[in-house]
């Protein structure tokens, strides 16, 4: 791109004239079966949207119960064993049934084919299958819950889980095992699609960053998840037959379990955050009408995070009696893996520079993400630092850290993405004012909930405590108050997004004037996505191309 043509004017379209296309993927077919047997990636995305939201609120309800119980120092709302089941369910559901499949399942499914100019993912049947597998895993998790719950904590720590608990550990382990396959299938599908289905002209470096992020996350899913599967199989077998591969009394080593579990579960945290980072890239670029600052750096940092993410798992075991020398190595690698995230944050910040910024709701969520993820990530560096981790590990500091990255990062990105692509998915706009209110509410509520937990953690309050010494009450009350606000913040989008399905303003094909291919077709898109396979004849995030294009024509073929 030459410097002469450095400026772009892209004006937002006049939405009052926008119309819904006559036929699109939603009204193409009717009836429940047409949804349950669909192979259309867009419909499957909606299936994911419903189920993921469902599980989020179940997980959220458990969060509410946790916070209620922690309002007072004594275990007076529920007994300790019930509390233990609460946080186990909360963790399992939020991680495996909500955050891991959320952005890939909903936004990835919907957008990957659209963004690369394909008619569908490479394996549509597999895609549907992966939703069913996910639902099977989810159902089994709920079964474990209904049958009486599990209280292992989401980490299934042995030998506790294998020999000392009499709750439904095997059911839960199998549920997660099954859910893992859904993740694997999604990952395979995405990788093949991104390699094989790109439209003519869509080179790797013309791909939107959303795709790079999903590509990296898919690599993690494909390489990491099977190890979790092995681990859970071994746990189930050990529990079933009373053998001791993880039990020191019988010659096994519980640390081997930790190694295997975290070999998956550390990369899993990047499975959760990378797709979110992809969302942020798209939204920031669009809302500041400017190409991403340092596209290549952002793209490669995704891959770097995925790669290095595999080398740091031992930082979850620093005080568990691992060798100090290998702890040294893993701590160093942890420091290295933090750097690509920093690169991304600064590149996004500098994308704003000299842009032409508007502050729609998705953008507000992005700002929330940047602030909160920075805090969450930097506190991760506390934990990666060997000596510091001794004091902080297994305390509320860790809880605060991962909620900052997962809720402040992952969930905020998910909401940003849902709002951003809502017009594309449904053809209608969400109501702007109230959604801004929701964004601000969640931000405030979030900080009120989790900032006190950092202090609690440094004071030494261990996590997974149903009861705690009274001097910690004040901070806990603050946190519960925050959670209430947060809960409201999350209820709001539920309500107004549903409302908007009927009453929202018609969006038109490209309400944000974004450059992605998905915005060049009707909203909601037709079942075939593209009447003709597009040709990518311009750079990604090319707002000049868009300006020229919009000058010439108003609507695209639908």
């Amino acid at each position: 791109m030459s410097t002469a043509v450095g400026n772009t004017i892209v004006s937002l379209p006049d939405q009052s004239t926008a119309q819904l296309p006559k036929r699109h993927y939603i009204n193409n077919e009717y009836g429940l079966l047409s949804w349950l047997l669909t192979e259309d990636h867009k419909r499957i995305a909606l299936l994911y949207l419903f189920s993921v939201t469902f599980f989020f609120f179940i997980g959220g309800a458990f969060a509410g119960l946790i916070r209620l119980e922690l309002l007072t120092p004594q275990p007076d709302l529920v007994a300790a064993d019930t509390y233990n089941k609460f946080f186990t369910m909360h963790g399992l559901i939020m991680i495996f049934l909500f955050l891991v499949p959320s952005i890939p399942g909903v936004l990835g499914n919907f957008l990957i084919p659209l963004m690369i100019g394909a008619r569908d993912l490479a394996f549509p049947k597999l895609n549907l299958l992966s939703w069913y597998v996910y639902m099977a895993g989810g159902t089994l998790t709920l079964a474990a819950l209904v049958l009486g719950g599990v209280d292992t904590g989401w980490t299934f720590t042995t030998p506790l889980s294998t020999h000392y608990l009499n709750t439904h550990v095997i059911t839960a382990a199998m549920a997660i095992f099954i859910t893992g396959f859904s993740s694997i299938l999604t990952g395979i599908n995405f990788i093949v699609t991104i390699h094989r289905m790109r439209c003519p002209g869509m080179t790797w470096f013309r791909m939107p960053l959303f795709l790079w992020a999903h590509y990296a996350a898919s690599l993690l899913m494909v390489l990491g998840t099977p190890v979790l599967a092995t681990t859970l199989v071994l746990v189930a077998l050990e529990r079933l037959f009373g053998i001791g591969i993880f039990d020191p009394a019988k010659g096994g080593d519980p640390l081997l379990f930790q190694h295997l579990f975290w070999f998956y579960s550390h990369p899993a945290v990047y499975i959760m955050i990378l797709p979110g980072m992809g969302v942020i890239s798209e939204v920031i670029s669009t809302c500041s009408r400017k190409r991403i600052f340092g596209y290549t750096a952002v793209a490669f940092s995704s891959v770097a995070i995925a790669l290095f993410g595999f080398f740091v798992w031992e930082h979850h075991m620093f005080i568990m009696g691992v060798s100090s020398y290998s702890a040294l190595v893993f701590s160093l690698l942890t420091m290295l893996v933090a750097v690509p995230s920093a690169i991304k944050i600064f590149n996004w910040a500098f994308t704003l520079q000299k842009g032409s910024i508007t502050f729609e709701t998705p953008m507000l969520y992005c700002f929330g993400f940047m602030g909160l993820f920075t805090i969450g990530g930097l506190t991760g560096v506390f934990l990666g630092s060997l000596g510091m981790d001794i004091h902080l590990t297994e305390t509320y500091f860790v809880v605060a850290h991962f909620h900052f990255v997962m809720v402040g990062g992952g969930l905020m990105a998910f909401l940003a993405g849902i709002h951003f692509w809502w017009p594309k998915m449904t053809g209608r706009m969400y109501p702007e004012t109230i959604s801004k209110l929701a964004a601000v509410t969640t931000f405030i509520g979030f900080n009120l909930t989790f900032l006190p937990q950092f202090v609690l953690g440094y004071l030494g309050l261990p996590r997974r405590y149903a009861a705690y010494p009274p001097e910690f009450q004040v901070l806990n009350v603050l946190s519960t108050a925050g959670a209430t606000v947060l809960g409201f913040g999350y209820m709001l989008p539920m309500l107004y997004l549903v409302w908007s399905l009927k009453y929202g303003a018609i969006a038109g094909s490209n309400p944000w004037q974004a450059t992605g291919l998905e915005w060049q077709i009707a909203s909601p898109p037709p079942t075939e996505n593209f009447a003709e396979i597009p040709i990518m004849d311009h750079e990604v995030y090319d707002y000049e191309w868009l300006a020229n294009k919009t000058k010439k024509e108003v609507t695209t073929v639908g």
Binding site: H195, R196, R198, C199, P200, G201, M202, T203, L219, L223, V227, L255, L256, H259, F263, F310, F311, E314, G321, V322, S323, S324, Y325, S326, V329, F330, I535, M536, D537
Partner: protein, 111 residues
């Protein structure tokens, strides 16, 4: 200016010509596999101290390589597929070596 030939798909990295392996070639591979099996079995009955394990694993790796290259056609696949296999082996090795780095350097007194 849009040139159909600058199709994103033309780089060789991702594609390979389809090649059909003849039954005779398969047969040679088959014999080699059987021979290696016999060899590894025989080697196990000779006391070679630590080398026994190395030989066993070495032969298994050779067999696996032959199997992957010819039976599974990896030899005639695109670089992409080769890379995929490499990635699997690499990650496996990372898992093993990094986990073992903990066990080996732990002064547990068992090693």
């Amino acid at each position: 200016m849009t040139d159909q030939a600058t199709h994103a798909h033309v780089n060789d990295l991702e594609h390979a010509e389809h090649r059909i392996v003849t039954p005779l070639q398969y047969f040679f591979v088959y014999i080699a596999m059987l021979a290696l099996t016999a060899l590894t079995c025989a080697a196990a009955f000779i006391d070679l101290k630590w080398a026994n394990a190395v030989i066993a694993v070495g032969i298994a790796c050779t067999q696996a390589a032959i199997g992957a290259l010819f039976f599974m056609h990896a030899a005639f696949q695109s670089r992409l597929i080769k890379l995929t296999i490499g990635a699997g082996v690499f990650m496996f090795l990372v898992m093993v070596t990094m986990t073992m780095s903990d066990y080996i350097s732990r002064s547990w007194g068992m090693w």
